[in-house]
């Protein structure tokens, strides 16, 4: 790596987290490096939570870490098609744990829900996994999905199931 102090600390933390996650198996997700030489970009496969519309889905996502991780949160972007109130149409996930620490300028999120440097990849992915089954339609990233989720649950379910099918085809 290079000679930078923070960068190296970030790489060590990421290395440790990756080692730890590959040692254990999770029923919610699996992770790996996209490029063996770059610890700052991870590929994630999220398993659709059981007993939800997302059940059976194998959703691919990309996690990108900032150079000063863990002092700033990573970003998580779904690469599989995703229909969810808290996922932007381009796949970016909008969840409070991925928002920088401090108070929310809009006043929607408690400071205690937001990112802090002791959070890990595991806590993020578990939060996102839980979010799939329990969308927060109070503060949606995809307004259309939120509206559909609220007003016509059957259509919402059908649309999500199409995403699930596509995610399995492309796997």
């Amino acid at each position: 790596m290079d000679d930078s102090v923070v960068n190296r600390a970030a790489a060590i933390k990421l290395h440790n987290e990756l080692k730890e996650l590959s040692r254990t198996t999770s029923s919610a997700f699996s992770v790996g490096l996209i490029d063996e030489d770059n610890l700052f970009e991870w590929g994630v496969t999220m398993f659709g939570p059981p007993d939800t519309a997302y059940e059976g889905g194998l959703f691919k996502a990309r996690m990108v870490f900032p150079k000063n991780y863990p002092f700033e949160p990573p970003t998580l972007t779904f690469e599989s098609d995703m229909w969810h109130p808290n996922v932007y149409s381009d796949g970016r996930v909008c969840i409070s744990i991925l928002h920088n620490s401090g108070e929310d300028p809009h006043g929607y999120e408690e400071s205690c829900e937001r990112w802090n440097p002791t959070q890990t990849v595991e806590t993020i992915l578990l939060s996102v996994h839980a979010m799939l089954g329990h969308p927060n339609d109070e503060s949606p990233a995809n307004v259309d999905a939120a509206k559909m989720f609220r007003e016509s649950p059957t259509d919402y379910r059908r649309k999500v199931q199409r995403c699930v099918e596509r995610s399995m085809e492309n796997f």
Binding site: V5, V6, V64, T77, P117, V143
Partner: protein, 386 residues
């Protein structure tokens, strides 16, 4: 990239020893996942972090990174015992892992031998086995000797000066510069790998206590040794925890001590002047200078917490490296959570013009009838930004 990292992490311990793995995990800072470097305990909630990690966290948010109770820097206190435990554990780690590996190897060998037993009738084969075993024994013997040699080398290194926590990146930082004039030589020789072996060999035994002392420091050592005052050498060698009682060596202040500033009260010119007085780079706009000042205060304070502070010069290089690491362009494919652009907002407004109009009518209707102020929270929240 991986090659340059210390590949030490809790998963080095075999699955059969979950307690050791747990201990390894517990001796790591929850923020950086490395072994604690100058551990600080919070007096309000009792959590422990590296000094630099917790100071960086507090610069962003004045809450404990673990439990989020309100926390300020005045509530941080050094936890010297943790430093000593980490130091001991880190030093013992390779030996312990080696010993575990040897044990596993010998178990493997005895299993192999048991498998060979039925063939014992053949004298020739048995002799071969015996030879093989004695060769292995000899090999183990040399390996053990190697370990003890290492240990001796290490103890003498510790004996010659207190431990300075230098990261390997620091070693690079030092290697990159040839001007190390203000660098206290006795402070950096402790990790054997940082300096060529010849440096260590230049030590001479003290005529009074027979301790190996570096030639350059022999007069200083002798003065203290003869007058019965404790020399730092014996303190470090004998009782590392006792270091906790020793006052931290004053950070040789060639530069003034920085304090936190209320940046909003500083004009760009005034901040630049302050940075200049502190002896840190003054380039960039106000925001960059502010970020640099914050990091400088963190580095300075964490260095002051340390029992073995590094020189200002190295601290300045760490500051430069920190800045450089952030200036690097993000990796390919980085997705920035950029705020919605003007175009998006306009598009959004056009798309939902009907909904907005409906909501406005609804709001006006409820305002007209103050008795039913219960607003339709469902439609309200659709207006909220994500």
């Amino acid at each position: 990239m991986d090659m340059h990292l210390e590949l030490e992490d809790p998963s080095d311990w075999p699955d059969t020893l979950p307690r050791l793995r747990e201990l390894d995990q517990l001796l790591r800072c929850p923020v950086c996942k490395e072994y604690f470097g100058t551990a600080m305990v919070t007096t309000s909630c009792g959590h422990t972090f590296c000094s630099l990690c917790v100071r960086r966290c507090l610069a962003q948010e004045t809450r404990c990174p673990s439990c989020r109770v309100s926390l300020t820097e005045s509530e941080l206190h050094p936890n010297r015992l943790i430093d000593s435990i980490v130091h001991t554990f880190k030093n013992g780690r390779p030996q312990l892992l080696d010993a575990l590996k040897d044990k596993a190897d010998s178990a493997e060998r005895s299993k192999q031998r048991a498998a060979l037993k039925p063939k014992q009738g053949c004298v020739h084969e048995r002799r071969m086995q015996e030879m093989d075993a004695s060769q292995k024994r000899r090999r183990i013997g040399t390996r053990n000797a190697g370990i003890s040699d290492n240990r001796v080398a290490h103890t003498s290194a510790v004996a010659s000066s207190p431990v300075v926590e230098l990261t390997s990146s620091d070693v690079e930082l030092m290697a990159n510069s040839d001007d190390d004039s203000d660098f206290m030589p006795d402070k950096i020789s402790s990790p054997t790998r940082t300096r060529p072996a010849t440096k260590l060999q230049s030590s001479v035994p003290c005529p009074n206590c027979q301790e190996p002392v570096r030639q350059a420091r022999i007069n200083w050592h002798l003065d203290r040794c003869l007058s019965g005052r404790p020399t730092r050498d014996t303190l470090a060698a004998g009782a590392l925890p006792a270091l906790g009682l020793q006052a931290a060596p004053a950070a040789h202040s060639a530069l003034p001590r920085p304090t936190k500033l209320a940046y909003s009260l500083f004009s760009e010119a005034k901040l630049r002047r302050t940075l200049k007085d502190l002896g840190i780079p003054t380039k960039g706009d106000k925001q960059q200078m502010q970020a640099r000042h914050v990091e400088w205060v963190n580095l300075y304070m964490a260095n002051a917490d340390s029992l073995t502070p590094v020189s200002h010069r190295l601290l300045l290089r760490r500051l430069a490296a920190w800045e450089e690491s952030l200036a690097k362009p993000p990796a390919d494919g980085t997705v920035k959570l950029a705020p919605a652009s003007e175009g998006d907002v306009a598009e959004h407004a056009a798309k939902y013009a009907d909904s907005f109009a409906a909501l406005v009518t609804l709001a006006n209707a409820t305002r007209a009838k103050p008795t039913t102020v219960v607003s339709d929270s469902a439609s309200d929240s659709l207006l909220s930004p994500p």
